[in-house]
Amino acid sequence: MIARASILVLALALAGCSTASYTEPITQLNQGLIVAQAGFDGLKQRVEQIDLVRSVDDQVEHGFPLTLSSCELTQDPKKDPNNCMLLLNGQPVQSSDLAPNGPKLLAAFIEYGKGLQQLAAAKDISDLNSSVDNLNSALESIAKTSGATAAQASVISSSLDLIHWFLGQYLEYKRVEALRSSIIAGDQAVQQGVPLLEAEAGTLQKIAATYEPGQLQSMVLAVSLARGEPLGQRTELERDTVSYQQSIKHLMETDPVAPFEQLKSAHAKLLVAAEASDFSASDLKTALTDFYKKAKALYDAVNK
């Protein structure tokens, strides 16, 4: 009689727990993270390429010869890393890594988002435990890259014993518990990692804002200097100048730090929702949508 009553009480308690409400915000968070990663990587590549061109130009001006190594058909670039390389004074031309931590952090954030998604969809306890392992590894990676030790990372408890009895609802209950503790731990990682992302994105834009208008200025002068050149050459130069101006204007008008500020704020709202087990708040959806929009704006600005 007592056992039956206990089962009834447990069943009623578990009936209130569902991962269904987590699905939408987690999907939104993941979409934002993927676009933010593409935007950050695009900005980094763009700025590093401009920096490389500037560096080559500087060294050529100072008398270092720019040459090309032999270019041979090869299947394995590891065997011949200098194949088809630009050489400055005999040394391969290499770009500087102007934002070393951002790509690692964003890759770990993506893993964190994927881990949440796997957790929400876990079909059994083994699935659930493996999702928790992936999440812990992502959080440790964020903590390490942010300068904290792995031990300082918030680690999600995975003490989930196998209980076959009552498994369906028990699994759902455990999924909700693991998701809640993951989001709580994830918020600490977001607070640790995002300032570094903001700093690197800000530095990249500062460099872009200095180099790119300089290159455009030289093109503007070249248009004036080309007054006596044939119309075809002038038109080509003018077309390139106008097109480059539009690209730079778009980049200068986009705040590359904004997606990451918004990530922090959206994740804080996700944390509040997880703690209250209530994902219906409209400001959570708005915050996650804003994160996606700001990440998309960075991606578009970099790729135009």
Partner: protein, 126 residues
Amino acid sequence: MPASSSKDQALLNVQIDTCADNFPTLIDQTRAKENAAISAADLATARTLDDLGITFANQYATLLKHQLKAIDDSAQMDAAIQKFAVVNQSIQTELKGIQQIKEFTDKVTQIAKIVAEGIQIALMVA
């Protein structure tokens, strides 16, 4: 030959960081004067200012990624600190007031030279 101290090194670092912070303004002002020269059809001056803009972009990159050389001689250290301090002072106070393109060009040519000297004394250039 008195040895330079870590305090001097910290001071030099501050001057270099301030200089890097000032450089976007310097580059922006140089560009504005280049455009004024283009508008006045003074293409020779525009070209000089364009070259200076490129020089400043290269110097900015060096300042941003700066790594100090080991300077043992305190006189050398003082000279480097002094050069960056002069440049900072010029950018922050003098340049804004210069309207004449010629005067501006002379001043920024001088700045580029002092920065180059400061970089040569104090910084490793990759």
